[in-house]
């Protein structure tokens, strides 16, 4: 498969209630690498094995939640083409100049009907993963500092009109549906997992009356043992754990959900399966949604369904 168009999730910008607490959490507990701070008060991080300058930004604000979520596209021509395609589809876009974010090229920003700001970009400085591109070692000391995920992997967003969001992602941006949960009526989707790659999800949406909400931002680990180690580090640091370690039925990932010090939920997970655009989407019915979300307990907890930032 040749990867073209939209390549992968690129960055998320989040709001935290206390910047110093946020920096301490993302740097020392989650174990991301701080890569910069800008004039707007944003602090930039990347996971150790990511090569681009940044994937997680935080800024202090009066509310928690997500400012925007971005995807890397193949090149500048792709960025221009997708900008035109979005407009032709009736989606209003905005160009944010190169340099507005540190080490990041021009971005195309648009709002989807769930109330979230999504961005596309083609250029971001390659700062490497701490290794040479010639004869590298398999990992670096940052790979064992804190929870130390290898990458920011995907996010789950809550908002209304997710079928319209799905249409934009599928018809304009080239994503495909991997799994979905159908509501009691047997027709309407409660939740959708979308991929632009061979990952089981690059972004997911849950139908929710309030627009623009963040359910979680997800970080990838290499093994189940590292997921358990992450749980230990969370407890050592009195991090608020939502649920886990456990396994999802949907996407099959092994997971922990927890909250940053401002109440933004994050996931540290491993596994999940590889998928391809020709694969038929997997469906979960309303009566089995508990096992879909938490495969061992086979039931949902109210907090997982209703707590968002």
């Amino acid at each position: 498969m040749a990867m073209t168009g939209v390549l992968r999730p690129g960055h998320i910008s989040m709001r935290v209630l206390d910047l110093e607490e946020g920096i301490n959490f993302y740097k020392n507990v989650l174990g991301l690498v701080e890569t910069g701070r800008d004039g707007q008060g944003r602090v930039y991080f990347k996971a150790w094995d990511e090569r681009e300058h940044n994937s997680v930004l935080i800024r202090e604000a009066d509310t928690a939640g997500v400012d925007f979520f971005a995807f890397k596209v193949a090149d500048k021509a792709t960025l221009d083409k997708l900008d035109g395609d979005l407009q032709a589809f009736g989606v209003k876009t905005e160009r944010i100049p190169a340099g507005e974010m540190l080490e990041t090229g021009e971005r195309v920003r648009f709002e989807v009907p769930s109330g979230h700001l999504i961005e596309l970009y083609a250029e971001k400085t390659d700062v490497g993963n701490g290794q040479s591109y010639v004869n590298p070692d398999p990992w670096v000391p940052d790979a064992e500092r804190g929870i130390a995920p290898t990458r920011m992997d995907h996010c789950l967003l809550y908002g209304p009109d997710i079928e319209k969001v799905q249409e934009i992602f599928e018809k304009v941006l080239g994503f495909y549906l991997v799994e979905h949960v159908v509501m009691e009526d047997g027709k309407t989707d409660l939740a959708i997992w979308l991929s632009c790659s061979t990952k089981a999800h690059d972004i997911a949406f849950v139908r929710h009356p309030e627009p623009g909400k963040l359910h979680h931002i997800s970080f990838k680990l290499d093994s189940w043992e590292k997921v358990l180690r992450a749980a230990d580090i969370m407890s050592m640091n009195r991090i608020s754990i939502d649920i886990g370690p456990t396994r999802h039925g949907i996407t099959r990932g092994s997971t922990i959900y927890a909250f940053d010090p401002s109440g933004n939920r994050f996931e540290t997970f491993c596994g999940g399966y590889d998928t391809y655009p020709d694969y038929k989407a997997v469906k979960w019915t309303w009566d089995e949604v508990g096992a879909g979300i938490f495969y061992h307990d086979r039931k949902l907890n109210e907090r997982f369904l209703s707590v968002v930032s």
Binding site: D62, F259, S309
Partner: protein, 108 residues
């Protein structure tokens, strides 16, 4: 060692001991008590919203999306950011109050 105060959760009648450097939600959870719904524990989601009906306290920063200035002035706060300075009594007003009250009714 800090001082310890008694916090009464009016909805369930539960009383928990809470140190002055501990938040009320954590004190309740640490004792295995139910009473206030538990969300993010970080002041961001608003699930553990309570109204303080008596006593002295201070709070740490809470999301304005969950607690308005007027509410805060009226003693409406998030239990995860609520620190007692005397014995307190609180009433649950958060997003999951219905679930909590249903649970209490269901168990009696």
């Amino acid at each position: 060692m800090g001082q310890r105060f008694a916090v009464t959760i009016e909805d369930s009648g539960e009383r928990v001991a809470c140190a002055d450097n501990d938040n009320v939600l954590r004190a309740m959870e640490a004792l295995g008590r139910k009473g206030i719904p538990v969300g993010c524990r970080g002041g961001g989601c608003g699930v553990c919203k309570v109204q303080v009906t008596g006593g002295a306290y201070h709070t740490r920063k809470m999301s304005r999306a969950c607690v308005t200035e007027a509410e805060e002035a009226d003693g409406v706060v998030l239990a995860c950011k609520l620190f007692p300075e005397s014995d307190l009594s609180v009433k649950v007003v958060g997003k999951m109050v219905k679930a909590v009250c249903a649970g209490i009714q269901g168990s009696t």
